[in-house]
Amino acid sequence: MDFQLTGEQRMLQRMARDFALKEVQPHVAEWEEKKAIPREVFARMGEMGFFALPFPEEVGGLGAGYLAYALAVEEISRVSASLGISYAAHVSIGTMPIYLFGSRVQKERWLGPCLRGEVLAAFGLTEPGAGSDAGGTETTASLVDGEWVLNGTKCFITNASLAGVVVATAVTEPGKGSRGISSFVVPADAPGFSVGQRYSKLGLRASDTAELVFADCRLPEDALLGERGAGFRQFLTALDGGRISIAALSVGIAQACLDASLEYAKTRVQFGQAISKFQAIQFKLADMAMETELARLMTLKAAWLKDNHLPFGREAAMAKLFASETCVRAALQAVQIHGGYGYMDEYPVERYLRDAKLMEIGEGTSEIQRLVIARNLGC
């Protein structure tokens, strides 16, 4: 057993942190205010190699592994969870399915641009009537004269209006349940495809979330991703990896809560002393530090399993569940430690709280994670 990061992982982590502090931090407030992250930021992240981290060199990746990628997601999210989720969605659930299940032609067309940050990817699974029950997909795809015709709506899709390519699920064999679902690689300029209004959200305001509309959207026959009817299996696989990225994102938020709270507690004086001298505050900080470290450990373990080609679904669900609930608790305590100032938007902790809540919902709610874990236990 070895709990040390490799030299390479440490250096990548430090570079990601330097990037987050120098090129993200100064703009966070403005992005949140404008509810958008400029496209150049993604181009820059692509140029730096952020998106290529977990992919092998044969497809233009850096071959640094999923663990290194998780470290990078944490560092970015520690500074901006909005950028963190855009990053995680682009890599883990947008681009990864194309890498895992795509044909040679699909990979050649999309992977390079996605890894270099020239094209952003989105993953369209959730529908108004199919959230936790993603197998209840109502979007349909039928083959007409050698072309796929898609009809339906996807909601709450991260990167929707920025994406150049979307991986979306649709029913190709009605009546066959989850085995009747297939995935498609949809270029944003496909006829009949459009992006709806961006949502107004509690948190992660700078991240892009919108609806995808398929109205007789026509795609060539080879737009099918992998095999017909494999869509359900594919998205379960994609979500397993995605959960590690949401866990990493959550660890980043929890760490940011701890950083801000510790600094504040050491400088805020009440009753003639720094509030960090009060045991009640110390215990909160101790719990935050402990839970953040535990969440990080589980996240990295799940990533390590994945990198070593071992089963990781259960650990990914545990990491996602524990880390997301950790960051919500940490954010609540961070606001508490900041007192009234914590409730004001001049301090970052109110944003951490708003951002944190999504972690318990996206890519499978806490309830669904518990179901996944229980199923793994043989229930």
């Binding site: 030299g7 390479e8 440490r10 250096m11 990548l12 430090r14 570079m15 990601a16 330097d18 990037f19 120098k22 090129e23 140029e47 730096m48 190699g49 952020f50 290529a52 981290l53 850096l62 071959g63 640094a64 990078a72």
Partner: protein, 261 residues
């Protein structure tokens, strides 16, 4: 054109602990980074490379871990790395360090320009650059804040002074040391680091360099650190109370009394 950048690995942190037994900084457990001043040297070299196609070599004296900093320099755009390392180098003072560096630079082949930082963040003597020039028998310009012109065999630079700058010109090869005003260093990219992994960085020890044992390590160091102590903790200072108007009045009076105003 070939540019050599001399980089030192230093601990990252301002809260360093002092090891009284060794009269040196206790670097155990600290993250090691490229001396921040050297990132300006490196950035300048990489900019020259991008503008006119030079090759950039980085060189460093230090223990095994220095390999990481050399690779980080490659990730910032350097082309070659050279690592001078030998347990016997420990305890070298700036003069001995410069001696080792000079023999290393001679071994790596022809070059046109050597760029150093103005000083190291930890040792901070600012002596290695000029001593290196002396060892190499080259001219040296310190505190360069801008390279005005650089061409085959010729360089013209702005040298920062207390109240302005001097324009200095001279022949190449030359050693210059640079100040942070010269540029804004880029971040090393993840991509660059993963590429740098594949570069072979030769490690040369004392015998590879054919060094004179009397010129490095404690024996070869004419100076030694007699004592190292942390700066005294900041004393409280004085808080001025009252309304802003009163505070200003009191402050102005105090500054007058102290003959600052």
């Amino acid at each position: 054109m070939r540019i050599v950048v001399s980089i030192k690995q230093v601990p990252e942190t301002t809260e360093v602990k002092i090891d009284p037994a060794k009269n040196s900084v206790d670097t155990e457990g600290l993250t090691r980074i490229i001396n921040p001043y050297d990132t300006y040297a490196l950035e300048e070299a990489v900019r020259i490379k991008e503008a006119s196609g030079a090759t950039v070599a980085v060189i460093s004296v230090g223990p095994e871990k220095v390999d990481e900093s050399l690779r980080e320099a490659l990730a910032m755009g350097a082309d070659e790395g050279f690592h001078l390392s030998d347990p016997a180098f420990e305890g070298s003072d700036p003069l001995a360090t410069a001696y080792i560096l000079a023999r290393g630079i001679e071994k790596l082949g022809p070059y046109d320009l050597v760029i150093c930082g103005r000083q190291a963040m930890d040792g901070a003597s600012g002596q290695v650059g000029p001593s290196l020039a002396e060892e190499l028998g080259l001219p040296c310009v310190t505190f360069v804040r801008k390279i005005e012109e650089l061409k085959e065999g010729y360089i013209r630079v702005q040298r920062m002074t207390d109240d302005g700058y001097e324009v200095v010109e001279g022949p190449l090869p030359m050693v210059i040391t640079v100040v942070k005003e010269i540029n804004e260093p880029r971040l090393a990219s993840l991509k660059g680091l993963m590429k740098a992994k594949r570069v072979t960085i030769p490690v040369w020890n004392a015998s590879d360099l054919g060094l004179d044992p009397a010129r490095y390590g404690p024996a070869g160091s004419p100076t030694s650190v007699a004592r190292l102590s942390p700066p005294p903790p900041r004393t409280g200072g004085e808080m001025i109370e009252g309304t802003p108007e009163e505070q200003v009045r009191i402050l102005v009076r105090k500054l007058r009394d102290a003959k600052v105003l």
